[in-house]
Symmetry: C2
Subunit: 379 residues, 2 copies
């Protein structure tokens, strides 16, 4: 089974090196740049790959929606397996690509699109073969974890921590996908597909941004609760729907999450048989992510089963899920559910009683506004 | 593919329920007791199972060496797949059973024999397909973790914590396999087989017992280092051998291990590509362990590849692995490597400099004797 790789960037080159070390043949690489070490195999013509009968697996590591989507569709229609690390592509076109793969008798694999170097999607899908996965949650974004850890342990500000994350190559120049939670929301949607067998739309998943977090929050929370802040995604399987949301979260000092430092990820599934199962590792990086892509290629080559995949779109329903919240706001707005409130330097520090995820988002949008920092309080 | 289960105890019955819920047929169950709900399928005659052409997979959850070993050999020679949760059997007869399986074109699976409900052996073996696993370590025994956690958080003595563990069904009446480290040593040997592709003998793996640990140690260690004690197994792949040992370990307050409470397990592999990958979950229990066994059955039924398995016996070599140690002893013996020493109530509290694992065992056996408590100090 010969392989083509679309894009020879960080993940693509890592994947190629790992596969070649294990004896796989990467016959063609789609890449516009000139790269001396692979120059005999580079092409900028995708049709050359599609028409090559020897190539049975196409690995896509370009990222973004186009041309990745066009390439994915053409690959599957040409009855070649499609392996990708692209969370944009998969969270947008999950149903279409999975159906196309089925129609054409080939596989779609997206193990590296959530969790990076952690074999998360693989284990979710595997667990679902014998267990009923009821919940998914965790730290799924290394950039925001790096920022929170640096703020907490080094006492530096959000913006300084973000700058360091950018200089280390963790954060993009436009960090909004990370700090506003869209990156985590995409990974939640993909985890839901693999673990619950349901499709949800990323834009239906509400997020509280991390942008408003400050050292004041960390100090107040530490003083009152001894807890740390982590940026977490959540999903719970419901009858006829899925609860899913992304929010800064006050994790207990005795939790595993509180010990996740730097850009580490820690993702958890809860199964009826298995109970709580957590996976810690590198959520990104050339070789960790490349390794996960390479394992998908090996799985396809070995004919590994991967059947438990969502095909139908379900609604995101957060009105039945109740949590307590921490709120820091300068708004004088009055709203129900306040359990404790304290004023410090013209800002209100609030802990709420139990309130549904839907309601807290309503309160945020209707009365508190952008400057408020809101975080869930883990039970 | 019809299935037989040998032994309808805790794990066997859990496995049966899970498999049946997923549509698998458990045709025969080897069991001496009368169990009304399965009475039409119970037999006490193993040959009835072996001679049944419809039964393609035999699941063994009896435990112990005999008759499990005889059953395993007969199963494989009858060209049926063999799935087991039996760490005694697998750590003693690994090479023989794997070779027999190969000769007869069938599989041996032992996923639940280390890690219980954690998909540890599966992921080790899977990771090894694309990565070079260099180290394995972790909390692999729930009983000893329960004891250490109860001592640390509730301030109760070792013997009281052990009694509670026994009353909860975690610890056996004879707890020596747990507290002297043989249980962990067996799991280390099986992890080495799946992760490094090498066989080592359990009796070659040196262990420091947990029995001598006391609240005095916890108080002293907390005061001097802020650390917790966990009981950990270790293995490192070496050229021409394997380093492997089991010892109480001073883990850092910022480590994931320090947050593993109750009878939780947390096991880590380090891969050249993947980096550090940790798995947390339930190391025992009817449904967690039954689920892991059931997943092995599904894997066999789906024809999943599982090739990276040790076949050759390697030596355990610990003379090149250096660590620092904590020692509490009433022995006046003089020995090198002491970094700091303090006397409290006629006992010496010692932290050593770096010393090889072989040398600390020599010092223990030759000069310190049974009453000393020794624990590795993690870097």
């Amino acid at each position: 089974m010969k392989i083509a790789i679309l894009g020879h960037g960080v993940v693509g080159s890592g994947t190629r090196e790992i596969l070649e070390e294990r004896g796989f043949t990467v016959k063609k690489i789609l890449e516009k740049r000139e790269i001396p070490e692979i120059k005999d195999r580079i092409t900028d013509d995708f049709d050359e790959i599609i028409s090559d009968e020897e190539i049975k697996i196409v690995v896509e590591t370009i990222g973004g929606l186009e041309p990745a989507h066009t390439f994915a569709v053409k690959t599957l229609k040409a009855k070649k397996h499609f392996v990708t690390s692209n969370k944009f592509l998969m969270s947008e076109y999950f149903g279409e690509l999975v159906s196309l793969a089925e129609e054409n008798g080939v596989s779609v694999r997206f193990g590296a699109s959530a969790g990076g170097g952690i074999p998360w999607i693989h284990n979710l899908s595997r667990c679902a073969k014998t267990d009923e996965i009821t919940e998914i949650c965790g730290i799924m974004n290394g950039t925001t974890n790096y920022i929170l850890d640096a703020m907490e342990r080094k006492g530096i500000s959000f913006s300084d921590a973000l700058k360091t994350a950018q200089s280390l190559g963790y954060a993009e120049r436009d960090p909004s996908a990370d700090v506003d939670g869209y990156d985590v929301a995409r990974k939640v949607a993909l985890s839901v597909a693999a673990g619950f067998g349901k499709i949800i739309k990323t834009e239906d998943i509400p997020t509280f941004s991390l942008k408003a977090v400050s050292l004041k929050d960390m100090a107040y929370i530490k003083e009152k609760t001894g807890r740390s802040i982590r940026y977490k995604g959540f999903a719970k399987d419901l009858i006829g729907g899925v609860s899913a949301f992304v929010e800064p979260t006050l994790v207990k000092a005795e939790s595993l999450e509180s010990r996740v430092s730097e850009n580490g990820n820690l993702i958890t599934l809860i199964g009826k048989n298995t109970g709580r199962l957590s996976f810690f590792g590198q959520g990104a990086g050339k070789y960790p992510t490349g390794d996960t892509v390479a394992l998908d290629v090996v799985g396809v080559a070995e004919g590994e089963g991967f059947s438990h995949i969502g095909r139908k779109v379900f609604e995101v329903k957060n009105d039945g899920i109740k949590r307590k919240y921490y709120i820091r706001t300068s708004s004088p707005a009055v709203f129900p559910y306040i359990a404790t409130e304290e004023e410090r330097q013209n800002e209100r520090y609030i802990f709420t009683d139990l309130i549904s995820v839907s309601d807290i988002h309503k309160i945020y949008e209707e009365t508190l506004g952008k400057n408020a920092f809101i975080a869930g309080v883990e039970e």
